[in-house]
């Protein structure tokens, strides 16, 4: 792994992972589009759900993982942890954007409006806004260590905001805080075969996520080492060997 990342070639396991996620994605898509039955109420529209739900879940997972790498960076200041945090932040932004688009696609035919202030969709839209802020700040700080520290902090704040935003969005819809916390979804029961297809799609989306992040980390590592060589900021340290002494 270390050797292959040095010369910039994609390691074998990453290629295999890519193939596996592609294959499973194909299987999941086939099952979702053709093999699974249409919904009693929503007919074929339910098929959007197979893509939408896994993508939404992964978006939140990615924020959590990014925040954990951020905390590790704050703890031990290793540049690679920042690379990993950003890789997951990229995935979080991508997946949450897809979630918002998917949710709007879903609600237009079912509820005849693009925007419903649905709790989870609102939550995801807020998360997109928070992540955009994360990237704006990253773009404004040039010094890499401070950039890594500040963006780690922002991601932790984003993570902490999720439960509050969720509660707020949920209560906003129901207009009442008391009868709300219903984290298992909307209480709709799902046929076992539909659930199975959904789970397969969750695993497929998970593999795509892991592949995406691993590839992004690999590229980030390359950028990191080339930046190091260009600025020589680690090579510069021991070069002089001459200590100026004032005794």
């Amino acid at each position: 792994m270390i050797d292959s990342s040095r010369d910039g070639k994609r390691p074998l396991w990453l290629n295999l992972l890519g193939l596996a996620s592609l294959a499973l994605f194909g299987v999941g898509a086939y099952l979702a589009l053709f093999a699974s039955p249409p919904d009693v109420n929503q007919g074929d529209l339910i098929r959007i759900m197979y893509a939408h739900v896994p993508v939404a879940w992964i978006g939140f997972v990615a924020v959590g993982v990014s925040a954990v790498w951020g905390m590790l960076y704050l703890w031990r200041s290793r540049p690679i942890d920042d690379v990993r945090a950003v890789a997951n932040a990229d995935a979080a932004l991508l997946f949450s954007l897809l979630t918002v688009v998917g949710g709007m696609t879903y609600s237009k035919p079912t509820l005849n409006t693009f925007w419903t202030w649905d709790a989870k969709l609102t939550l995801t839209a807020l998360m997109v806004a928070l992540l955009v802020g994360y990237y704006i700040v990253r773009g404004l700080i040039e010094e890499p260590q401070r950039r890594a520290r500040v963006s780690a902090v922002i991601m932790i704040v984003v993570l902490a905001s999720l439960p509050f935003n969720y509660l707020a969005a949920e209560w906003f819809r129901t207009l009442h805080p008391a009868k709300s916390v219903n984290l298992d979804g909307s209480g709709v029961t799902m046929a076992p075969e539909m659930l199975r297809v959904l789970l397969i799609n969750v695993v497929a989306a998970g593999l795509v996520f892991v592949y995406f992040v691993s590839e992004r980390v690999r590229v980030g590592k390359l950028a990191l080492s080339s930046a190091r060589e260009r600025s020589g900021f680690e090579a510069a340290a021991p070069a002089t060997g001459e200590v100026v002494r004032v005794r």
């Binding site: 040039e142 010094e143 890499p144 260590q145 600025s231 020589g232 900021f233 680690e234 510069a236 340290a237 021991p238 070069a239 002089t240 060997g241 001459e242 200590v243 100026v244 002494r245 004032v246 005794r247």
Partner: protein, 219 residues
């Protein structure tokens, strides 16, 4: 043996895209007066802020009196004080209020303030807002704050700039007195040749590296 007052090993620091310090190795024994020279933008302020724990080194390590500034910045801060170029006072507070704030922040007795204002020649302007001060007066106020803290390590960024002759003599006196009390002083200045200063060493910061200036009188 007491640890050196300043110990820098392979210190680099990026500011934006520039590598301002490119490997500074420095050791200064306690009780010395060192003058730091270098052109504008050579990194003198960067080096001082780095020693003051305000900037973290991009790589390398820095110790003050044996205390690692990265690992224990608060302990390092307890040993140092800095006079910044602009004076570092709040413009809408009066000179006295600024010093009282310093007392509260440093846990010093508030009674010392009046005498200090007198010492730096600001007694008449004590209750005027710093906003109305000239830059020389702001410098004097910054000096009063440093006298209040009387830290083990004095970091002075261009202390003579903007001061009148009287003010420059004041800096000379204060520096000499601090030195006599065994304090360590690092001064970024273009005026290392001031008659009475007699630094232990003059360092030249050039191209991100540090060397002893030939003019420096070495102890």
């Amino acid at each position: 043996m007491t640890p050196p007052a300043i110990e820098l090993a392979g210190v680099t620091r990026r500011m934006g895209r520039e590598l301002v310090l490119r490997g500074v190795d420095l050791e200064v024994a306690a009780g010395r007066l060192v003058v730091l020279r270098g052109g504008n933008g050579a990194g003198k302020t960067t080096l001082l802020r780095l020693l003051a724990t305000r900037l973290k080194p991009t790589s390398g390590s820095a110790r003050l009196f044996g205390v690692d500034v990265l690992k224990e910045p608060a302990a390092a801060r307890a040993r140092l004080g800095m006079l910044s170029v602009m004076g570092g006072s709040y413009p809408v507070l009066s000179a006295r209020e600024n010093l009282l704030l310093a007392c509260d922040m440093a846990g010093a007795p508030r009674a010392a303030v009046g005498g200090l204002l007198e010492r730096v020649g600001l007694a008449a302007a004590a209750d005027k807002h710093v906003r109305t001060f000239s830059s020389g007066m702001k410098k004097r106020l910054g000096l009063a704050r440093l006298l209040l803290l009387d830290p083990d390590l004095w970091l002075l960024d261009e202390p003579y700039a903007a001061l009148d002759d009287d003010g420059k003599r004041l800096v000379d006196e204060v520096v000499a007195a601090a030195r006599a009390r065994g304090r360590t002083l690092l001064m970024a200045s273009h005026e290392s040749d001031r008659e009475h200063l007699r630094p232990d060493a003059v360092l030249q910061l050039h191209d991100g590296r540090l060397r002893l200036a030939p003019a420096g009188r070495q102890a």
